[in-house]
Amino acid sequence: MKYETIRLIFGALATVGLYSVLYRENKMYRFFEHVFLGLASGYTLVAVWTETLKQSWWDPMVGTQTENGVPGQPGFWAYMFLLPIGLMGYFVFSKKNNWLSRIPIGIILGLWSGQQLQVWWNRYGPQLDDSLRPIIPTSFNPMFVPSTKGLPKIEVDAIKAHVYVSTAVSNIIFVITLLSVLSYFLFSFELKAKFMQKTTLLGRWLLMIGFGAIFGSTVMMRFTLLIDRMYFIWVETVWQGILGQK
């Protein structure tokens, strides 16, 4: 039997083993679950050196020798300070000095927090910009965006420069949704005013439409992955692998 086929069979068995949980929690699932966890953490132990520490800590620290014409790099010894910092984390289990473990944690959290100012605007600035949509039509005739069928570019631009009634309406709905959802998430204001209560209720309903749409497109992906699994089991493993069909 070809090596590929053996590999395929291993994969298929593991897949079926994990699927068996759909019927009920059973020994087979338990076995593959633990194999899975074992392999995963084993892989992590490998990757932590080969993928992370080696290339982003060790190599820059000790540098590289010049070998067959490739210029070497000097070592930057200050990287060594990161090791003791990391070690401080291991005090977490000590009764007296567990506070030391907060130092590496503090560094990680600090680095993350510091980025947030920049991140916020990079991420939401353009969205803010995109939300500023004109809601007053500049042309009432036609009411809808006219076709640009085979028109010269200039005219197309002229058409695009206008805000049509249909566009304006959609934009109004867009804005209402955005604002009512936003106001739904105000926590520190008493919603005494009838109007505010109505808005937040509307906000909730519009949210549900949004969630519905999300559900629709997510379902597509999940089913695709299942189909791909089935393809793997039936076509790749059984049909092509074991039965050797093309």
Partner: protein, 323 residues
């Protein structure tokens, strides 16, 4: 969920409590059987996919684009199809590319495999293979997407220190930035396009960190579509979402963005321009999506019917209770 034995249940209650294993079994059947049958499904590509296709087709031949690829075997169904269709387009248009992963150590290997698969099918159809070093470069993986993108946005070359590869002419490994692919590329703006093929939230992270430093197009999974759509077309010029997106691309590769489309624009000399883009008719454009998309219909149908049964059951039960 009522707890009495099925025998005593009314029809309405039965309809509301179909046992899970049965549902699951039907799902397995409906997602397996159609795979063995060629089915053809009509398709109308959506705007985001068209923009993606147009963007990639607008990249000048021979130039180098950057690809961030953060998918692995687990999302092969969608991302695999996306990546392979992208590869087909790039190779046919002789566009060089450097591919890196931000966060997932396995991604580079997965990418290599899928490139070699596309390469093989090219060789079968008698086209020249795509060579590492000459036509494409793998920059490997950078741990921690935030940090990686931060560094790349700052300077591409320093973000990938000491990355070496064997030149196609053989000999000792050399710095990838001396390769024909990356020579003279130091900052993001040196690349005409960055394509992010991802199955995780690295899509958002890339948008946060790159902030318009480079023209960005993305290929994301169906689940990320809704969120990523927020950034299209402002921060992301082209967007391929899930299986439907891949099917769109495969359709477009066959027919191009049809010049008969009324929305195409003539310039003053009556020449078609703007959205009209040619495809690769006759070449091998059909990939994973063409295989899976029909099957998807059956799964959807099952879901919809299941929900309907549940609701009808509810109404029947209400009626009986009313009696």
């Amino acid at each position: 969920m009522s707890t009495k034995p099925r025998s005593e249940m009314s029809l309405g209650e039965k309809m509301q409590s179909v046992p899970k294993p049965i549902l699951y079994l039907v799902l397995v059947l409906l997602t397996s059987l159609p795979l063995f049958k060629e089915l053809n499904v009509p398709n109308k590509p959506n705007e985001a996919s068209e923009d993606f296709y147009a963007t990639v087709m607008a990249v000048p031949e021979g130039s180098t684009i950057l690809i961030q690829s953060d998918w692995t075997g687990s999302t092969r169904g969608e991302s695999g199809g996306e990546f392979e269709s992208l590869m087909r387009i790039l190779m046919r248009r002789k566009i060089k590319f450097a591919v890196y992963a931000a966060g997932d150590p396995q991604a580079p290997q997965v990418v290599k495999d899928s490139i070699s698969r596309v390469n093989d099918e090219r060789k079968l159809s008698g086209q020249p293979g795509y060579k590492q070093w000459d036509d494409w470069i793998s920059l490997g993986n950078l741990p921690n997407a935030e940090a990686a993108n931060q560094a790349i946005a700052n300077n591409v070359q320093t973000a990938f220190p000491g990355r070496k590869a064997i030149p196609s002419t053989g000999g000792s490994p050399q710095d990838v930035f001396d390769s024909p692919v990356l020579k003279g590329h130091t900052k993001l703006s040196d690349f005409p396009l960055l394509v992010v093929v991802t199955a995780s939230n690295t899509a958002t992270i890339a948008i946060e960190r790159y902030a318009g430093k480079v023209k960005m197009a993305q290929m994301v999974t169906g689940v990320m579509g809704p969120e990523t759509l927020n950034y299209y077309p402002k921060q992301v010029v082209g967007l391929v979402v899930g299986l439907k997106g891949v099917y769109d691309i495969e359709t477009l590769m066959e027919g191009g963005i049809n010049t008969a489309d009324p929305h195409t624009i003539k310039d003053d000399n009556g020449k078609f321009q703007g959205k009209s883009v040619e495809g690769f008719p006759g070449e091998l454009n059909k990939g994973k999506a063409t295989r899976y998309y029909p099957t998807l219909h059956f799964a959807f149908a099952l879901l919809i019917i299941a929900v309907l049964i549940g609701n009808i059951g509810m109404f029947l039960a209400k009626k009986e209770a009313g009696k």
